[in-house]
Amino acid sequence: MVLLTRKAEFSAAHYYWNDAWTPEENARVFGKCANRNGHGHNYTLEVTVAGEVDPVTGFVVDLKQLKDILEQEVVSVYDHRNLNLEVPEFAAHIPTTENIAVAIWNRLDGKIPNAKLHRVRVYELADLFADYYGEQA
C-alpha cells in the first residue's frame, strides 16, 4: 500500500461564535476570533489517500482526477467564501480548523476511486494545523 498526498489551497473568512452563549462568554473563549465581522486565512489542505499501485499505470490514483475532486468538492465551495454564512455544514458547527478537517473528510469520503481516504490535514497557519483520520473504532 502507498500513501499519496495532494495539496490544495483556499482563502476564506470565518468567525467563532456559539449562539448558546452570551457575547461576553464568546469573547472570553474565542478572543479576537469572535469578531462577528469575520477575519480570514489562506488555508492549505493536504489530502492523503491510501491504495495499491496499479500495475499498469503505476498510479495509486490519477492525480488529475484527485485534483478535480478536491476542486469540485472543496475548493469551489470554500474558496473566497465566508464559511459561517455560505457553507452549509458550518451553519450548525463552528468553522474551527478541527471542524473544517472533519467537514472536508465528510465531503471526500468514498469519492476517491480505487483509494481510501487516509488523512485530511488543514493548515490555518503554517504553525497551526488539524488532522482528521475519520471515525476511529
Partner: protein
C-alpha cells in the same frame, strides 16, 4: 451538501513554536578524542546554537460547544510558560534537564514530550523538533491511526 460533522469526532491539533538556544554535545565520561569522534564540530567547547522549531500534536474529541480539541490560548500560554520561557535564548547545557544528559535534539525532544504530557486539556501524541531545516526528530507517544490496505469506493 455533505453529511454533518461528527459532534465528538477525534481530531489531532498541531502547533509549532520557535525558539533559539545554544548547546554543546559533550559527555564527561568520554575522553577528548571520544567526544571529538562522537560529536565532531558539535563538541566545540564554546558551544553553538540553532533556531529550533517545536511541533506538538495533541489529540482529543472535538468539543461540541467550541469546535476545538483544546483552547489554543491555553496551549499557547502553557507553551510560553513551560517551553519558551525555559529554553528560548538559553544555553541548554546549563539547564536542569541536561545536567546529566547530553542536549542532543533526541534528548531535547523527549524532554519536551515530558513537559507537554502535563498539559491538562488534551492528550499529547507526538513531538517533532526541527534542529535545522535538514534535521528533525520525532517522539511518538501514540501512533496516528493506520489505514487498512483494502480499498473501498462508494458509488
Amino acid at each position: 451538501m455533505s453529511a454533518p460533522t461528527t459532534s465528538r469526532a477525534r481530531a489531532y491539533l498541531s502547533r509549532r513554536y520557535h525558539l533559539s538556544a545554544s548547546h554543546r554535545l559533550h559527555v564527561d565520561s568520554f575522553t577528548t578524542e571520544q567526544n571529538r569522534a562522537a560529536y565532531g564540530k558539535c563538541n566545540n567547547p564554546y558551544g553553538h546554537g540553532h533556531n529550533y522549531t517545536i511541533e506538538v500534536t495533541l489529540a482529543g474529541p472535538i468539543h461540541p460547544a467550541t469546535g476545538m480539541v483544546c483552547d489554543l490560548a491555553a496551549l499557547d500560554s502553557f507553551a510560553q510558560t513551560n517551553l519558551l520561557t525555559v529554553f528560548d535564548h538559553m544555553n541548554l547545557n546549563t539547564l536542569a534537564p541536561f545536567r546529566d544528559r547530553v542536549p542532543t535534539t533526541e534528548n531535547f525532544t523527549v524532554e519536551i514530550a515530558r513537559i507537554f504530557q502535563t498539559f491538562p486539556h488534551a492528550e499529547l501524541t507526538r513531538v517533532r523538533v526541527e534542529e535545522t531545516s535538514n534535521n528533525s526528530f520525532e517522539y511518538t507517544l501514540r501512533p496516528a491511526p493506520q489505514t487498512a490496505a483494502q480499498t473501498t469506493t462508494k458509488g
